[in-house]
Symmetry: C2
Subunit: 197 residues, 2 copies
Amino acid sequence: MRGDVMARKPASDRVLDAAVSAFSELGFHGTSTREIASRAGMSPAAVYTHFSSKEELLFEIARRGNERFLALLHRAAAQGVTPPERLASIVYEFALFHARGHIGARVVNYELPALTTEHAQEIKALRRQMVDVVRSVIEAGLQTGEFDTPDPSMTCVAVMTMGQDVARWYREDGRWAPEEIAAHYRGLVLRMLDAKL
Amino acid sequence: MRGDVMARKPASDRVLDAAVSAFSELGFHGTSTREIASRAGMSPAAVYTHFSSKEELLFEIARRGNERFLALLHRAAAQGVTPPERLASIVYEFALFHARGHIGARVVNYELPALTTEHAQEIKALRRQMVDVVRSVIEAGLQTGEFDTPDPSMTCVAVMTMGQDVARWYREDGRWAPEEIAAHYRGLVLRMLDAKL
């Protein structure tokens, strides 16, 4: 069954899926190209026809992953009208995604030190855009008086940190469903900003 | 200068210091025993007289690190009288430690998947004790009516997560001093629990 599903995907996507699963289990440095090839059901030589190196694979995973995060934040922010509604939606969707997609999110968030300087710069630029989405909503709420915080930038860091860290501690056999975590975190963040709802 | 300081320490501590710096820069899997030996100023063979494997080194770092975290939480909790005072102290000291000791804390918090199952169990037991300290203060505050939260366990996870994640994003050349982060996080957490001060 799983083999069938894998086979329908383009070969380069199969390599990426295999690399995500290997990196999340074994870490970037603990994963060989042979291991990735074996999980993708192809030869190491075939892997190299799609990606020139293991680092390039990690970069592609990080680029796609962070682009998805950024799109998700934009979509979530657009779901509300007032700043508290927009931030509520952002926190809910961000936490939900980090719980449901915890395997990929762990790689995207925690294996970045293994990137080359140039690739790391590109990913950092994406992540700065993500922070900007959240901070602009917080600042809008400060302007309207619906939020209160002595340091919007540091509060923004805390908000993103909470969501991202869900990918590290979330367990599929744990006590909380992704939706419960998302709803609880939404409540915590609105209180952190003393939101007037 | 640094060599002098290193030389005064017992050899096994020098190996541990060298391993922390190597693991935090290169990751556990990216670090060779030769690299650790070179940073400790000794031969690989000399490293093996102190630790039988790289994993045992990581375990010793994790055990010492988490024991320090646990002692810090107990000390911090004892610094206040009311639950809000005790939690304020916990959050401040925990965040401060994760900023100041970010290099070691990163290894202690993020390299744990590389431990053997048995060693991981021992570390998890220590971490459960850490969670218990924080949760018992939150529950005491719920009893007295000084805190309010719909799910004390999940709030406890969020509180610890925020502090731990400081070690991941904190930069010595960044815009905030450890004390500023600690003070801001203390305020955020007291709001998360709607603390009556």
